[in-house]
Symmetry: C2
Subunit: 427 residues, 2 copies
């Protein structure tokens, strides 16, 4: 289908904002600027008073954990996991993962997220189903907790999922392998996973250096900090998406740069769990690829990527006592281009000719968008994800005028509540 | 008018959430729970699927600065003030303050704020006009920069404003006196202001201990830190609302407690300007009254109090590396009860019998409110100010179903743009 997006102010790859018409053919952006003579639109979207930005990329989440949103908050980390999260997760069935991911998909589309990197389990085929049906882009990984029984079966299943789904749903689904973390996976298992990933050419998604406790325990148990410890397993030879990366020293930076490890920075989760502040300004200075993630909805508690964009701009300013630490342009770049690169997507994350048509139109009619000084700055510091009006992924319209086109919002809320009622009875 | 709010989950003063009908007579809440026999409602608001909370209180802002929203961001503080903010403020006329405050009023009502403490100038009668017309509650102070010419005339004018407006608009307007800060007001002027305030019985609103530079310069110039320096002027003998209070030592805590100084904590502004992290958990532990403020829209860049509530809950967790540092309940309490007390309002800030009917109804229909685990936690960590559906102040409905009843939104956007066009030509 040919779509003409008319009259928007467009956030361009160099972070300038200019009025441009956008021409979409099938899954791609084929022209920007003046209407091409041979372009006959099947549909015209009037985007006057709107800002067009590349779709936001959630570089680290656990989508189905929306079912646990605000189930347990304001607790010490260990109590939270052992008394609340793990028992209820143990009771989860296929349909819980499906409806949890569907609830996540509703929330993501309505807040302008067009792609997400998901690490969860065990039933990742259910999440793949949601990606296929919703029209979103998903980078899926079954997160393996290898200290639990059956880790080799889980690894074999992960490989099967890779073979079945990598490139599926018109290329909207890609697959990674995932050792959950170094504290849930012994090094010999990470080695085995790395070998399998190497054989099939899969990239990997892992939690790294999230808390001080993780670093201290790793030093105690293995005599090394997390990055050198995992480096020795060979995991980083694959393309690596490393979530969190909060506690880093110079040697860790050296390893991240050596292997081109891409970082998913999760400011909201790091704040809520009291994990610490990742050295993002230094990462940017050293040209490390940084995307942004929400983490799961039980430690955030939403999947609002514009909130993460705002938090990354605010948190580092106050942490470094420097109002220039992370600019609005750098923040939104991490939420779009940086995220796409971090999760391994090609031709995604920019509004540019030849790129996939993953486009979000944001209404500028509400009070936080007045007066009209600087739309980029207003996007990052003032507006909200509720201003997202229209969302395209791969050239398909997933929401227009805040109405979803692929998902039945009310049914999903209903079924998600029903899943939770059952889980609470059985956990 | 008698209003019955039916079927809401209500946030009660002890921070529990319970289903309760709310009965409003004229400006007050007269009953909670079962419908009283003699209560005949003129209007019934169906609040099923909604959470009712006390109106949010913005304890420190500069409302008319909405005109400068995103006019200048991501700059060093001195450049920002001297090159951008001050020149354009110098060009401001009466109508700029009026339309700027009107834009702020639209934004505040739509995001659930029912009262605000404003410090700005010179034309505070224009802000009073907006408060009277909008139906909001305003605690107004002409902020005096005494290093500029004419400070004694400004003080006399402040006293006149107090006499004209304190208790005006059915009691919705109260007035404070305001020396802007110790770095813009020499101590002899603060002394004079304190004496005037004492004479008329006015409370005071001042910026205190916002940046390290302020503390360093105060030590250099006066040989004392900000709190002991201002204590010596006698200012704190009045009831005092002190904005920011970021950089405090034990002696400062002693002074704050001795004079019952109330703090307006502004986490969003402190983050964006890189000012530092105020010791809020310690303030709460020592029973200091803490409210929350947005500061002006040029350093935030919105007036969204639910965002401040979320930030206060997140910022201190990560700063103290403690997920229990500030709980959701403490955060929303600061945004409501704490704020009302901080800005000196009686019978405001709680949904309780005898209190003013300043009530905000929040829709729970959007994705971030599902599933239904814990509405208080979802309010603080997950939902957004766009979920605010209905707003009452003093028993008057200012918004219903997101439609404003007292203000003409489109006209205000139009006039605010027009003010800015003129200001940009003349600054």
């Amino acid at each position: 289908m040919n779509i003409l997006i008319k009259g928007a102010e467009v956030l361009l790859p160099d972070m300038s904002v200019k009025p441009q018409d956008i021409m979409v053919q099938d899954d791609k952006i084929t022209a920007l600027g003046d209407l091409q003579e041979n372009f006959i639109p099947d549909k015209i979207i009037n985007a006057r008073e709107m800002l067009a930005i590349p779709g936001l990329v959630n570089a680290h989440t656990h989508a189905s954990m929306t079912l646990l949103r605000s189930y347990a908050d304001d607790m010490a980390l260990e109590d939270w996991l052992s008394q609340k999260i793990w028992p209820i997760e143990d009771a989860m069935r296929e349909d819980d993962l499906y409806w949890g991911a569907a609830l996540a998909a509703v929330e993501m589309i309505k807040s302008g997220t067009t792609a997400f990197a998901d690490m969860y389990g065990p039933y990742m085929r259910e999440v793949a189903k949601v990606v296929a049906e919703s029209g979103l882009r998903g980078v899926l990984a079954r997160g393996i907790v290898a200290v639990a029984p059956g880790c080799m079966e889980k690894l074999a299943d992960s490989v099967s999922i890779y073979k079945e789904y990598h490139g599926a749903a018109e290329g909207r689904i890609t697959v990674m392998l995932s050792p959950h973390s170094l504290y849930t996976c012994p090094p010999d298992f990470i080695e085995k996973l790395a070998a399998e990933a190497g054989k099939i050419g899969a990239e990997v998604h892992i939690h790294m250096a999230e808390t001080i406790t993780e670093t201290e325990n790793c030093l105690k148990e293995y005599g090394k900090r997390p990055f050198p410890h995992v480096e020795a397993t060979g995991l980083f030879a694959q393309g690596t998406l490393a979530a969190h990366c909060v506690h880093l020293d110079d040697e860790d930076f050296r390893i991240i740069k050596k292997y081109n490890i891409r970082v998913a920075h999760c400011p909201g989760s790091n704040m809520k769990l009291g994990s610490g502040v990742a050295p993002v300004p230094r990462m940017l200075k050293e040209n490390i690829c940084v995307g942004l993630g929400t983490d799961g909805a039980s430690s955030n508690n939403n999947l609002d990527m514009l909130e993460e964009v705002r938090l990354v701009a605010l948190l580092h300013k106050v942490h470094d006592l420097d109002p220039l630490a992370v600019s609005a342009a750098e923040a939104i770049k991490m939420g779009t281009q940086g995220g796409a690169e971090a999760v391994g997507l090609q031709d995604v994350g920019k509004i540019a000719v030849g790129y996939k048509a993953d486009i979000v139109l944001i209404s500028r009619k509400n009070a936080p968008w007045h007066p009209r000084h600087n739309p980029l700055s207003q996007l990052v510091y003032s507006g909200s994800s509720n201003d997202v009006d229209t969302v395209l992924v791969n050239g398909q319209i997933l929401m227009e005028g805040r109405r979803l086109t692929t998902l039945d919002e009310e049914k999903i809320y209903f079924e998600a509540e029903r899943c939770v009622e059952r889980l609470l009875r059985h956990s």
